[in-house]
């Protein structure tokens, strides 16, 4: 090995210092440019949606029902929340119980790591494939028809892995000693879950639920062929077709005429505000936990 003297080392370090600093400066400038581009786009998206939405929003739009290109948005707003609610009904129990199972019992076994991988992979199934599955299996095979139930279940498939994994992550932070002590004092699994894991991890669990809701509220592709669309409210409730906001954005902007475009912008505004608020609250709740 060649021995390098201190003088040589210093000369290597300071060799080309100008070009090296120049490169660093160029990288810094490009980096700031990238930040600027990215946040310029973010500002443009928010700006256009805010302007397009805020200038056309009326009380009438929020209080009457519509067909996606004319009328109001009340059926779509209510429908979005109904779908998210049904999605929660199907995804919350397996999400939280699954998370408890992972942290409490079999966190380290091979089986658990395979199950965990399946959970993660479920987030990456393309949403239109979930929609296709919902149409083929729920709507046709199980004879649900285009309905709130089918749409909600399709959303639940999307929400489940988020609820499960985020809950699990926050439950992992619960003190292992405390859990061991509880078992040593004779507590059973249910007591440990309800008295230790859930109370201590509640913020994380809540944050996961909010995240899942924010994702579900913005989804479209699963719903097109499961929930379909409904021009008003109908009495069938769980069995009837249902409207949702993302449909209005997609359908309205494609229709001729300013009023349909306005409706799409207002729907997008409501969506973007709802989703952003949910994400911010979710982050805040998660942050408070620490």
């Amino acid at each position: 090995m060649k021995v390098i003297s201190n003088d040589e080392r210093a000369s290597v370090t300071w060799k080309n210092i100008k070009t090296r600093r120049g490169k660093d400066g160029a990288a810094r400038a490009l980096g700031y440019l990238a930040l600027l581009v990215m946040f310029g786009i973010l500002a443009s998206i928010f700006g256009y949606i805010m302007r397009g939405g805020a200038t056309h929003i009326t009380i009438q739009m929020l209080t009457t029902v519509g067909n996606g290109s004319t009328g109001g948005l009340l059926n779509a707003i209510v429908g979005t929340w109904l779908l998210v609610g049904v999605g929660l009904v199907f995804s919350l129990p397996p999400g939280i119980l699954g998370a408890l199972y992972f942290v409490q019992r079999k966190s380290m076994t091979r089986m658990a790591s395979i199950m965990r991988m399946f959970t993660d992979v479920l987030t990456s199934v393309p949403s239109i494939v979930i929609g296709l599955f919902g149409y083929l299996v729920l709507v046709i095979r199980f004879n649900m028809g285009f309905s709130l139930t089918a749409g909600g279940m399709a959303l639940g498939v999307m929400m489940l892995p988020y609820i499960l994994r985020v809950s699990e992550l926050s439950m992992k932070d619960v003190s292992k000693e405390q859990v061991a002590n509880a078992y040593a004092l004779g507590a059973d699994d249910i007591q440990v879950a309800t008295r230790i894991y859930i109370p201590q991890a509640i913020a994380g669990v809540l944050s996961g639920i909010l995240l899942a809701i924010s994702i579900a509220a913005g989804e479209t592709a699963q719903l097109l062929y499961t929930a379909s669309w409904n021009n008003s409210f109908t009495s069938g409730f769980l069995h009837s077709r249902v409207a949702y906001l993302t449909y209005v954005v997609w359908y309205g902007i494609d229709q001729p005429g300013q009023s349909a475009h306005n409706l799409a912008f207002v729907a997008a505004l409501i969506l973007i505000l709802t989703v952003t608020a949910l994400i911010v609250i979710s982050k805040y709740v998660n942050y408070k936990r620490r």
Binding site: D24, R28, P93, L97, A112, I128, V129
Partner: protein, 311 residues
């Protein structure tokens, strides 16, 4: 209850496969090698081909949709990768610590914007810009590159889809990179700086050594998202069917967008072959998307749950 996600995933794969069996029998390997998507003529009596009943004259080939998915996703990566690297580098090295959390949160906010909103923005902002200034300029000045010459049509198409997708996947790649820069041992980072390296050299070192696998993995995770993205592409792709895209300014269609746009007319096929063909297409899309995601996850050593770390 922990087996529910696995059960759901396997039943999705199983059922989509089950429903695509008629189309697999009908088209076989030609599904991948032919180009025409012909739903058949419903007014004529259906015919039996390869042992399954199909509409008269029907033929299903996904070459165009495969091509569209690959081209738009690669274009998205081409834009998103350098952008993400620069973003990660800047957030990690060139911003004060106080601003760092805020910037990361803003990047994560991108991942939460619904895809129809991206689509809407693509239609009202991006397409006019492409149509009126960017694409005519490219057509006039870059026509020596193959595929860059030709007429500009509507602004919707390959470029618009690629740009929208790149904006959607950049946050994913950025967040994996930032995280891996963050978890690099503090000693290495300080050591490199104290030996006189510039921050750019530190970033270069991290990306080629410590964070290399995360970089590949994160890029694959972003690619996985781009492959499966439906609504935004559906809105800005122009919905090309049965025509070869002549140039980069052409409209395009992807596998996911085609399923979404075509399923409602497929209902009217009494033999069910049109729906089966879409199920086959869905199966192929899901297969590609899952493989890319699983490999990405393996390489990155972790997944991304929209800003929540998952190991």
């Amino acid at each position: 209850m922990a087996i529910v996600p696995a059960f759901v995933l396997l039943s999705i794969v199983g059922f989509v496969f089950y429903y695509s069996i008629p189309a697999i029998k009908f088209m076989g390997i030609n599904f991948f090698t032919t180009f025409l998507w012909n739903p058949g003529i419903q007014s004529k009596p259906p015919e039996v081909v390869n042992g399954v009943l199909a509409p008269f004259g029907a033929s299903f080939g996904i070459l165009l949709f495969l091509l569209g998915t690959v081209v738009t996703s690669l274009l998205a990566l081409l834009i998103a990768f350098p952008l993400s690297f620069l973003l990660a580098l800047t957030i990690e090295l060139y911003t004060p610590l106080r601003l760092k959390r805020g910037l990361i949160s803003l990047v994560e906010l991108f991942a939460g914007i619904p895809s129809v909103v991206y689509g809407l923005w693509g239609i009202v902002v991006l397409e006019p810009v492409l149509l009126n200034s960017v694409e005519p300029w490219m057509s006039a000045n870059l026509s020596f590159i193959p595929g860059f010459s030709g007429e500009v049509y509507t602004g919707a198409g390959i470029i618009a889809s690629g740009i929208i997708l790149s904006i959607m996947i950049a946050p994913i790649i950025t967040s994996v990179m930032v995280n891996s820069f963050d978890t690099a041992p503090e000693g290495i980072k300080r050591g490199i700086i104290s030996l006189g390296a510039t921050k750019w050299e530190l970033g270069k070192y991290l990306i080629t050594n410590y964070s290399r696998s995360s970089t590949y993995g994160g890029t694959l995770l972003g690619l996985g998202r781009a492959l499966g993205e439906t609504m935004a592409v559906l809105m800005v792709s122009g919905g090309l069917v049965n025509v070869y895209p002549g140039s980069i300014y052409s409209a395009i269609n992807t596998m996911a967008a085609h399923i979404a746009s075509y399923l409602d007319s497929a209902f009217f096929d009494s033999t069910g072959m049109n729906v089966a063909a879409l199920a086959y297409l869905g199966l192929v899309l899901m297969g590609i998307s899952l493989v890319v995601n699983i490999i990405g996850r393996k390489i990155a050593g972790r997944g991304v749950l929209r800003g929540y770390e998952s190991d």
